[in-house]
Every structure is written in C-alpha cells, then in structure tokens.
C-alpha cells in the first residue's frame, strides 16, 4: 500500500540537508518498526521517495514523502509511531493512503507556498514595502539566472500565483513544477533590486508552508495540497 506522509521541519534540524533527511527517515522507519517495503538485492533499500528537497536553512510546515507499506494499523498508529521516534523539530503532520494510479509526490508537484521573514525579527524596510504594489503589478518581473554556460533571463511573473507583502512577512504561492520552479527569495531579490536596496539572502528565513498538485488543467488550475490526493486509512 502506498502512503504519503506530510512532515514539518523547524529549529536546528533546518541545517540538515536533504540526503541526510532521507537517511534520517530510513532510520526512523526502523526505530518506529514501520512495516515498510524494501527493494530486493544484497543491499535492500526502503521504498521511499520525497516530493521536493528542502534547502539547508529552510524550515517547513508541509513537506512530503511517499512510502510503501506491507502491513499497518491505520494512519493514526503510523503517525504516532513515527512521532515517538522523531528528534525535536521534526514532526509527522499527516499520513494518507494513495489510491492506485496516483502519481508519486515528486511527479505530482505543481506549486508550493512559502513565507519569508527577516531573521532578525524586524519589519521589511519601508522603501521595499512601499514599492510592493507597483512591483507586483508589473507585466513582467525579469531576473537573470547564472547557469554553468551562460546567463539566462527568466520572467518570474507567470510563475507567481499569489503573493503579498506585509510589514513583517512575505507570503507567496509559486510554481514548483519541474519545468517552472522558482524560489521565493528570487521574487524578494527582484523586489529589493526594484526598490534599490541591497539584498542579502542570508538575512531571510524561508518556511515552506505547503506543497500542491494541480488537479485542474493548465488553463484552469485547481491546486490542492499533496496529502489531499490520498484518503485516510
């Protein structure tokens, strides 16, 4: 049975990179005695895949991984078992069964929502806040991306689904699909440049709020959280 798990990551564990989080969950499954399915061969691996890696330093309320279970005692039992072996800052938020034929988490991703605050707890500079309406109303938001070979111009605008800036918090819902993934800090950097203020990525704390799939069409998207693709069990 395929199961999707939603987890959150806060505090010091934000410094643990994606590959180590993967190893952390593999060990957690064993400690919690979850009856997870394994691949065959001399070094069997747990059948486990993640929706999208979370960068080192980022926190999250809504990250996902898919696993395959051989047996189980219901979602609540699974969640409780896993939460009893988590380190502080890591928490299992939900677990749902994926009906047959549902794409895995990674392939399902269409969008993600984020909040961005200043690490020092202060408000965004007034010059930035006052430029927001004008900035976000522009037809296009062009940034240049450095790739290995050359620099690329990208228009962020079509990839921003929702965005708002209050004094102390920036919130956005953006494209997270493999083709059009953008970062919340790219929008902020463009805004700061627009306002003529220096942007320093290290000053900002990014938190992923949730990750979504598109149940509608490309023209008429209907974004739902990844765990809404499954059913309780």
């Amino acid at each position: 049975m395929k199961v999707r798990i939603k987890f959150s990551k806060h505090g010091p564990v934000k410094y643990i990179g994606h590959l180590d989080i993967l190893r952390y969950f593999q060990k957690s499954m064993r400690r919690a005695e979850v009856d997870i399915a394994y691949s065959t061969g001399f070094s069997p691996h747990q059948i486990m895949s993640f929706a999208q890696p979370l960068g080192v330093g980022m926190e999250s309320d809504g990250d996902y991984l898919d696993i395959e279970l051989k047996t189980h005692n219901g979602a609540k039992d699974l969640i409780d078992r896993l939460n009893s072996v988590m380190v502080p800052g890591m928490r299992i938020e939900n677990a749902v069964e994926l009906p047959d034929g549902v794409k895995n988490a990674m392939a399902s991703i269409a969008a993600a929502s984020y909040t961005v605050t200043l690490k020092n707890g202060q408000d965004y500079p007034e010059e930035v806040v006052s430029k927001w309406d004008e900035f976000i109303a522009s037809k296009s938001i062009i940034i240049t991306k450095e790739t290995k070979k050359n620099t690329l111009e990208v228009d962020l605008k079509p990839h921003i689904y929702e965005a708002s800036l209050k004094n102390d918090i920036f919130e956005c819902l953006v494209d997270a699909s493999s083709a059009g993934n953008i970062k919340s800090t790219q929008i902020l950097e463009a805004l700061y440049n627009y306002a003529g203020i220096e942007f320093n990525k290290i000053d900002f704390q990014v938190t992923r709020i949730d990750t979504f799939t598109n149940e509608g069409t490309e023209e008429k998207p209907k974004l739902i959280p990844l765990d809404a693709m499954g059913v309780t069990f």
Binding site: D20, M29, R30, R31, F42, S43, G57, I202
Partner: protein
C-alpha cells in the same frame, strides 16, 4: 539556543556537525547534575562519532544521574578561523555551552597525528595549554586511549591520563571529585588523590632526568605516596560491563554509520609489530547470548541499516559461527546489512561471505604483512603462503575475483628479497586463479589484485620498541623496489600497487616513541599552523620540520636509532600487563626468525595472566 549564529552555520560545510540534537543524544538539566564532562575526540565530527570507545563512555557517564556528559569535537578548518576571529568558545554539542563551564574535559587519543588538534580544542575552549598554568576553575583535562601508553610527548598538556579500559574507574574519580568540591580542596590535592587510585598517571607529580646521550636516566615521583609503576585498568567480565544500548545516531553520514558490536578485547596472536595485540591482553570474549541481545537492542534503538563486528581478530572468537548465523537470520528478517570484518578464509567464511555480500563487488582480504615466509617469521605473523593460496583458491571457486593484500615496508631486518616477495606473492595468487578457474567459469571477469603497503613504525610495548625505524629515503626506495617487483611479474596487469605517504610516517614515528622534550615542538608546530595532521590535505611537513629544528629536536634520536636493550624508555613506568622482559625475549627471537605460538596454543608467559582473566585461564 545554538552556540553558532545562523550566519556562521550557513557559511560552513556540514553545519549539522555542530548542532547536536541527534537521536539518543542526552540532554540533562545542568542544575540537577553535580559533574559536567566534555567527552572529546580531537578530530572532525564524522571521525569522532565513528569511535566505539566514545559511545561507550558517553553512554556510561550519562547513565549516572549526577553526571552529564556532552560531546566535543574539533571544528573543521572552515569554522576554526571564524571561532578565533569572533572569539567564540568551543562548546559541548548537547548544551551548546562553553567547554570551560564543565568540570572535566576528557580527550580520547587514538592516534599520534591528533596532537595538534588537542591543542586546538584547548585553545578554542580557552583552557591554558599547560596543566601547570590552569586555574582552579578550569576543567580537569584527562586523556585516555591507546596513545596514553606513551603519553610523554603530550604529558604537560594534561592534568592526568587514565591508563587502560575506561569502564572501571571513572565512578571512583567522579566520587573523589565531588568530595574534593565539597571540601574545597585544591586542584593539585585532587590530582594527588587521583594518582593514588591506580591506573592514573598525573604527569605533574613526576620528574624525568636524562643521561648525556639523551636517553632517560630516571623517572621519579616528586610527591610521596604515589606509585611509580602504573598498571593499566582492565575489565574483568566483558559480558557484565557497560555497553551502549542506544548509541547516538548522527544526522550526517559518518565513517562508521552502523551498529558496532565489540565481540572481544585483546588478541591471541602475538604479531611483533602490533601494539594493540600487546596492549589489550589478555583476550576476553563476550558471551554470545549477551551479544545477540545487545545487537537487537542497538538495532532497535538506532534504526541503523547495518551492523558490524569489532575486534582485533574476529576469526578467533570462539562463538563466531553461532553469532554470525544468528545475525544473518535476524538481519535478513529486518533488511539489515552485515558488514563482515576481515575473516580468515575457510569454508565457513566463504559460505558466510556468499550470504551477506555481493560476490561480484566484494573482495577477499589478506594481511600477510610481509612478502616472504622468512620475514613473516620475524614479525610472528602466523599466516603462510599455503594459507593464502588455499584461501584464495577456495574463494575463486566460489566466484570471487577481487583480492586485497596488505603489507608493511621497513620491517626490522627487511631485505630486498623480502620486498620483492610482495610482487611474487601477488603473482602467485593471480596464477592460482588462472590455474584453478577454467575459462568458461570466469563469469565475474579475471582476478584483480590490489597490494597496499604501509610503512612500519615501531611502537611502545611491542617487541619492536627497540627497533630502528627506516628513514624517509629508505621508505621511498623500498616502495620503488616493491613497485618494480610487481611490474616484473607475469600477471602484472592484474596487480595494482598502492603505497602510503612517507612524511607522515616520520612524524608518527617521532611521537610514538617520544618523550617529554617533544612537547614544546608540538606547541610550536601548532602555533605555526599545523592542524589536522592526520589528513593528507592539511598535513604540513615543512612546518613540523621547522618546529623540530627551532626546538632543537634531533629526529633520528627518536626514529632511526636502535635502542639499547637496557635503555629506560619514556613509557617504562606504565604496565600493560606484558612485561618488558617478555618483549625483550620476543625482540631477540625475532632477530633469529623464531616464531612464538599464539595464546591459544601455548602460554608464553607474557605477564598478562596477572589480571586473572581471559584466555590465560580458560584456554580451549
């Protein structure tokens, strides 16, 4: 609250090295404990966290309600300058508080090449380098581990050394410390009491005098009532001692990312170059039923996906078959991998290896250590060419094609023929493959042999403690002879030859048999920028040579000099059980190429029987 700011953590490699918070790490209320101790492995986190001894002591200390033990590691080279520049004190991972707030800083000293890292840990902790400069409120700095069997080069940096196995005496030390705190006695008074516990060496309480030729004239206590002969601590019953049920599980991948089950201590084989083989005598086995239970507990508490067995010579463990068969069944059920130690190749091990390894990817390991039988007799390595070829043939018949061979160069009395024997032996193994495996059965490809040589460094408490170490030039020439001999073989295309760095072997040799006069040079080298000497990328031989030169250290005195039979060694006041008389006898036997039977075959009266345990009393 972390000790390092977000800005720092985001700017260094692997910030998870510094945040603590791992599964099974222990956080206590500092106001509810009497003693705080920082358990330090003076190298980077991934190396330190792979060390079993640290996990054992961490778990044991934290099992005491009145003690909180935290872990301390060397900050990596990217963080080190930041901490200096911003004056951030080194901290314990659990509390994230300065080491300086603790009562003890316990440093495990596993190899000579970590000595500058010890100074780094002291300096970043803001603890004076020299024990004599420490104030009453500085942590007591205690050293343990194999290098304490010659602690003299670093003696002045430590308040005391714990000689031997850590499980036995720390409780007494802690009780003594609490009494000392309650009574308000001085640091020195506490250390004098520690010295009387037995197994403890307090360097400041002893004086050394030297002869005109630089050798030691005398080693005397400068305080009445303390021993001048310090016998190691030893665990008498290994199945009734502390072992961690729930080791700390690192977030990042460490060198030993697995459950480690120590099946026995000590070794029956008296290889004359091997320090561990003498230090940990006598062999004591752990009860197989106890090990089975322990394995299950540790797998459950860590979630590790692999388990390995640890000992000096696992094939000699009497219940190995029983244990391995149990683990294979249990691990298969739990989808856990078994990482086998290198085993003597016989029907049992070939069967077991076939069950737990992918024959195509795994390799056979032999450690002949020397290329000819003559030389193997000199070093008392009880492995014959016939053993190797028979083992190889058996493994080839079962599909193996990869062979790893380990040798040493620079052994006492080594000749050109002995070195050339390495290439010849490797070739014989290749011939064995082509002679015994028919073409149509070579489905895993042809044989691939990797021969590696390391340079021999004489170590204290071995029969070779009197032996001269080869010079750097000799080492290079020996490696060249060895390479040429490999190239001259019929099957040279099937043999790959690797050799180790020479510079670092010279430094290790100086430290291994060094004395108190080396300490200023170690400090000088550190001040010049030497750090992480065990890492080839950071090792600065030029700076070390400068430091030795400026401090007037005569390198050959420590390395290439053959010691007189009656010379007083810097470590003679320590007693690991094996007597100097016995080692002397073994040194003379080695010169005649006479082998000595192992402990299971015959008791040779090494002296370790005085502990009253182990193989000395229950020979099979």
């Amino acid at each position: 609250m972390l000790a390092l700011s977000d800005e720092i953590l985001m700017s260094v490699d692997k910030p998870a090295r510094y945040i603590g918070n791992e599964i099974n790490s222990v956080v206590k209320d500092k106001d509810k404990v009497d003693i705080r101790i920082g358990m330090c492995f003076p190298d980077v986190y991934e190396i330190g966290m792979s060390h079993l001894g640290l996990q054992i002591l961490y778990s044991m200390f934290n099992s005491y309600d009145d003690v909180w033990c935290e872990r301390v590691f060397s900050p990596w080279t990217d963080l080190d300058p930041i901490m200096r520049k911003q004056s951030i004190p080194l901290f314990g991972l659990e509390s994230q508080e300065p080491v300086k707030n603790m009562d003890f800083l316990a440093i495990t000293i596993q190899y000579e090449m970590c000595y500058t890292n010890i100074l780094q840990v002291l300096e970043l902790s803001k603890i004076p380098f020299n024990a004599c400069d420490r104030a009453e409120d500085d942590p007591i700095v205690v050293g343990g581990g194999p290098c304490t069997y010659n602690p003299e080069p670093i003696a002045q940096f430590f308040d005391f050394f714990y000689i031997g196995e850590g499980e036995t005496k720390y409780r007494d030390i802690f009780d003594l410390y609490k009494k000392h705190k309650a009574e308000g006695t001085s640091r020195r008074d506490f250390l004098i009491e520690v010295a009387k516990l037995g197994g403890m060496y307090v360097p400041s309480l002893y004086d050394v005098s030297y002869n005109d030729d630089g050798t030691i004239k005398s080693f005397t206590a400068n305080v009445p009532g303390i021993p001048t002969h310090i016998e190691k601590e030893i665990v008498k019953d290994l199945s009734n001692t502390h072992y961690p049920d729930a080791p700390v599980v690192p977030f990042i991948k460490v060198t030993q990312d697995r459950v480690v089950l120590e099946i026995q201590r000590g070794c029956i084989r008296g290889c004359r170059f091997c320090q561990a083989g003498q230090l940990y005598r006598p062999v004591r086995e752990r009860d197989v039923e106890w090990l089975k239970k322990q394995a299950i507990k540790m797998l459950a508490a860590t979630g590790h996906e692999e388990i390995s067995l640890s000992s000096l010579s696992s094939s000699d463990y009497s219940e190995l078959e029983e244990l391995v068969n149990f683990l294979i069944a249990e691990c298969r059920r739990r989808s856990i991998n078994i990482s086998l130690p290198s085993l003597r190749i016989d029907n049992f091990s070939v069967d077991v290896m076939g069950k737990v390894q992918d024959v195509k990817k795994s390799s056979l390991t032999f450690a002949p250590e020397a290329g000819t039988q003559r030389m193997r007799n000199v070093i008392n390595k009880g492995l014959t060419e016939e053993d190797i070829l028979n083992g190889a043939r058996l493994a080839f018949a079962n599909g193996w094609t990869r062979v790893k061979l380990y040798f040493m160069l620079g052994l006492p009395g080594e000749t050109k023929e002995d070195i050339e024997g390495i290439g010849i032996l490797a070739d014989k193994i290749a011939r064995e493959f082509f002679d015994t495996v028919p073409k149509e059965e070579r489905k895993n490809g042809p044989v691939q042999i990797v021969a590696s040589t390391s340079f021999f460094i004489p170590k204290p408490f071995t029969p070779f403690q009197w032996a001269p170490q080869a010079t750097k030039e000799d080492f290079i020439e020996k490696a060249y002879i060895c390479r040429s001999s490999v190239m001259a073989q019929l099957n040279q295309k099937r043999i790959k030859y690797n050799w180790h760095e020479t510079d670092v072997s010279v430094l290790e040799g100086i430290m291994a048999r060094g004395d108190r006069r080396l300490a200023p040079a170690i400090l000088e080298a550190y001040k010049k920028g030497c750090l992480y000497d065990a890492w080839s990328d950071t090792y600065r031989h030029d700076l070390w040579l400068e430091a030795f030169d400026e401090c007037g250290i005569d390198i050959p005195f420590y390395t290439t000099r053959e010691r007189d039979l009656d010379e007083i060694f810097p470590w003679d006041f320590l007693d690991c059980g094996v007597s100097k008389e016995y080692l002397k006898k073994e040194w003379l036997r080695s010169k005649e190429g006479v082998v000595t039977p192992n402990c299971e075959q015959n008791c040779n009266g090494c002296g370790a029987a005085k502990f009253g345990v182990g193989i000395c009393f229950n020979r099979k």
